[in-house]
Symmetry: C2
Subunit: 99 residues, 2 copies
Amino acid sequence: MPTKLESAMDTLIRIFHHYSGKEGDKYKLNKGELKQLLQSELTDFLACQKDPQLVDKIMNDLDSNKDNEVDFGEFVVLVAALTVACNEFFEEQQRKKSK
Amino acid sequence: MPTKLESAMDTLIRIFHHYSGKEGDKYKLNKGELKQLLQSELTDFLACQKDPQLVDKIMNDLDSNKDNEVDFGEFVVLVAALTVACNEFFEEQQRKKSK
């Protein structure tokens, strides 16, 4: 029986391969697959970002190697950056509450 | 209704604060809290690691600033590194299967 943290890590792996397996290199997201993943899996979540252009900026960074491919390591960096941004928002709310 | 990816990100934030809130700085894990988190939330998952000392190594890295505190950003780096290691194992298995 996996823990909640293990399930969360498993989910990241499964989601990546669900989209990366659609076409071309099965283990990398091309630009179309990445956009599909972001649009389908991160729409609601973006509402809690303070910077509405955050995803665009990160996508540009990921594109900078010009191969239009994102491997799992790059994908995890994206997810980590978004989660840290959301956590900052969460902690800010908690600090306001406890004042 | 959050997507699976959003739920996974939410889980990371909740788990961190569940342990970081136990004592001292509510928004950071001290060494005891970090060990508790790893032991309770990552035990089974470590079975799929090829390097059994991976967590020890990462913990030493996190300790290197000598304040014995881990903030959310550092925690996410740990989770990302472990997830990438597990994904490499997963992809290797997939490649063997498709031969």
